[in-house]
């Protein structure tokens, strides 16, 4: 998946930089809005059909939210702390770090709200998060426990990095990872614009 994403982005950059006229490049914003709309409806359908997630949420009750809550609070707090050192405003650093690895959606939202440069930072941050997750999940599972192994993935815990979590932990943790990914995926389109507008 990450190769499709990276390949599409690089192809777009090449086309935009080399072949497309300025008028066509401007039309890409409209295309991006429609593509994002389709993507969000499609991700919503996947979440909606996953009845196991809804059942397990009732079974584990409120405790099941400890993992997505921890990921959200930890990511955003870490981002705000780093932002202080880098000289970024707290609303900007919080918005960047609340992408939770969902690079397509968070980058597009921040590009629309904060401009091209912020969109680039958001995209690369979330891409790095996914890549680093693959490397760190086995280590985190070994030294910090099975539930903490879900944390690096963020929203990608329900799809792209799920195999890495399942391999390093067990079936129950893999299910918790799916639930965590679903909750965080749902939070990204809400948290990113809300935090940026604070």
């Amino acid at each position: 998946m990450i190769f499709v994403a990276l390949g599409s982005l690089v192809l777009g950059i090449l086309c935009g930089g080399l072949f497309l006229s300025p008028e066509m490049t401007a039309g890409m914003d409209t295309l991006m809005s429609y593509a994002l709309m389709i993507l969000l409806v499609s991700v919503g359908i996947e979440v909606g059909t996953n009845k196991t997630v809804f059942r397990k949420i009732r079974e584990y009750h409120i405790k099941i939210l400890a993992i997505p809550l921890g990921v959200a609070v930890g990511s955003i707090s870490g981002g705000i702390l780093l932002g202080i050192f880098l000289g970024d405003a707290p609303n900007v650093s919080a918005a960047i770090s609340s992408g939770f690895g969902f690079y397509s959606v968070s980058a597009v939202i921040l590009r629309e709200l904060g401009g091209s440069r912020l969109g680039t930072v958001a995209f690369m941050t979330n891409m790095f998060r996914e890549l680093l997750s693959y490397l760190l999940i086995p280590l985190v599972a070994k030294y910090c426990g099975r539930y903490a192994a879900i944390a690096p993935s963020g929203a990608t815990a329900m799809d792209t990095t799920l195999p890495a979590i399942a391999k390093s932990t067990d079936h129950e943790t893999a299910l918790m990872a799916v639930i965590t990914g679903v909750v965080l995926t749902a939070l990204v389109p809400i948290l990113v614009p809300v935090l940026y507008n604070l």
């Binding site: 499709v4 777009g12 499609s42 359908i45 059909t49 921890g70 880098l86 998060r129 903490a148």
Partner: protein, 99 residues
């Protein structure tokens, strides 16, 4: 484009998807939905890339964004792991989070 409900505009499409998925979507079409997501991601990122490359400051932005993005990713992961580790120790039963 997405400003009809302020910061909540995007979530409307997501909620529409959840309602469709929970109420009427046939499970046998899930694979096709997966392909639709891949196409959606590819189109979103292609158009984003083309639009970004149209900006005169794009390559300078890219150079300066790389290290910053890496640091944001690393620190977000570290914060997440620490918070989940502490929260799970606090709320899960003893032994539930065995290594």
């Amino acid at each position: 484009m997405f400003d009809f409900l302020g910061p909540f505009s995007l979530i409307v499409f997501f909620v529409i998807g959840i309602v469709i998925g929970a109420a009427v979507f046939p499970l046998k079409w899930l694979k096709a939905n997966g392909w639709l997501q891949i196409v959606g991601i590819a189109l979103t990122l292609f158009s984003m890339g083309a639009s970004m490359a149209g900006s005169p400051t794009f390559f300078a932005d890219l150079r300066s964004a790389g290290m910053k993005a890496f640091l944001y990713a690393l620190v977000s992961i570290a914060g997440s792991v620490l918070a989940v580790f502490l929260l799970c120790r606090a709320v899960m039963k003893k032994g539930e989070d065995d290594k």
